[in-house]
């Protein structure tokens, strides 16, 4: 397990085990971000068919966003931001791929080149932060 939850003085304490505090742990917020985006699209589908404005997918979207924020705060204490920030730019490749897989949305060569440019731009910005 990446995360451990213990109770000290009646207060819950969440921590990351040292042996798992390496870079693979960054896959957790990345997966939660992707799940949040897919839930947002599923919630939009529910709005579109008029079944409900707030569906189970809306709640899932908020749950995934919340867990993503929490995991990010916990992980960033153990991983260098100069690596973590550009790593998260992978979401710009993973989310469109996931939406193609889950919702059957088309992916063109133009989109793939655009994705790579956005990822590259974010990595450049992150490297600029390191040099500040």
């Amino acid at each position: 397990m990446f995360l451990t939850v213990s109770v000290k003085d009646g207060m819950p304490k969440v921590s990351i085990k040292d042996r798992f505090s390496g870079y693979p742990v960054l896959l957790v917020p990345l997966a939660l971000l992707t799940a949040g985006q897919l839930s947002a699209k599923a919630a939009a589908g529910r709005m579109l068919d008029g079944s409900s404005l707030v569906s189970i997918y809306t709640l899932l979207m908020y749950l995934f966003y919340g867990l993503r924020a929490l995991s990010w705060i916990l992980i960033i204490r153990h991983v260098r931001l100069s690596f973590a920030y550009p790593f998260m730019s992978l979401a710009y490749c993973i989310v469109p791929l996931a939406s193609a897989l889950v919702f059957g949305e088309p992916l063109s060569a133009r989109i793939v080149v655009g994705m790579l440019l956005v990822c590259g731009g974010l990595m450049l910005i992150a490297s600029g932060e390191e040099r500040r």
């Binding site: 985006q37 947002a40 939009a44 949305e105 790579l116 440019l117 956005v118 450049l124 600029g128 500040r132």
Partner: protein, 116 residues
């Protein structure tokens, strides 16, 4: 890109700037419970947090009109907007890599969404 999605990106960038402004204000002050409450209840921080909490719902509404694989590209635009805003309103300094990265993101966005 729809007007609603453009609004979401703009509001997301504004919320980031508000949270940063509010967080800066919350640094100094008394450490007791009342002092802490007063420090973290400043207007920019509360406005930024409220905006950030409401935005997923607005984003989900915007997704009704667009495929996720296209709409997600717009999220990337918030980075150049936040960088520009932090230079304009917070007095932060930008370097060449920030500008080049922002240019790359804008080109990628226009190519991705077929606006180029």
């Amino acid at each position: 890109m729809t007007p609603l999605l453009a609004l979401v990106v703009l509001l997301a960038s504004i919320s980031q700037l508000l949270v940063k402004r509010g967080a800066d204000r919350s640094i100094a002050g008394p450490e007791d419970r009342r002092g802490l409450l007063r420090r973290f209840c400043n207007l920019p921080l509360v406005l930024g947090a409220l905006l950030a909490a409401g935005l997923p719902l607005l984003y989900s509404t915007a997704l009704r009109e667009l495929p996720l694989s296209i709409a997600y590209a717009a999220n990337g635009l918030s980075y150049p907007l936040v960088l520009g805003g932090s230079a304009l309103f917070l007095g932060e300094r930008l370097n060449r890599r920030h500008l080049l990265g922002s240019l790359c993101i804008c080109c990628g966005f226009f190519l991705w969404t077929d606006l180029l």
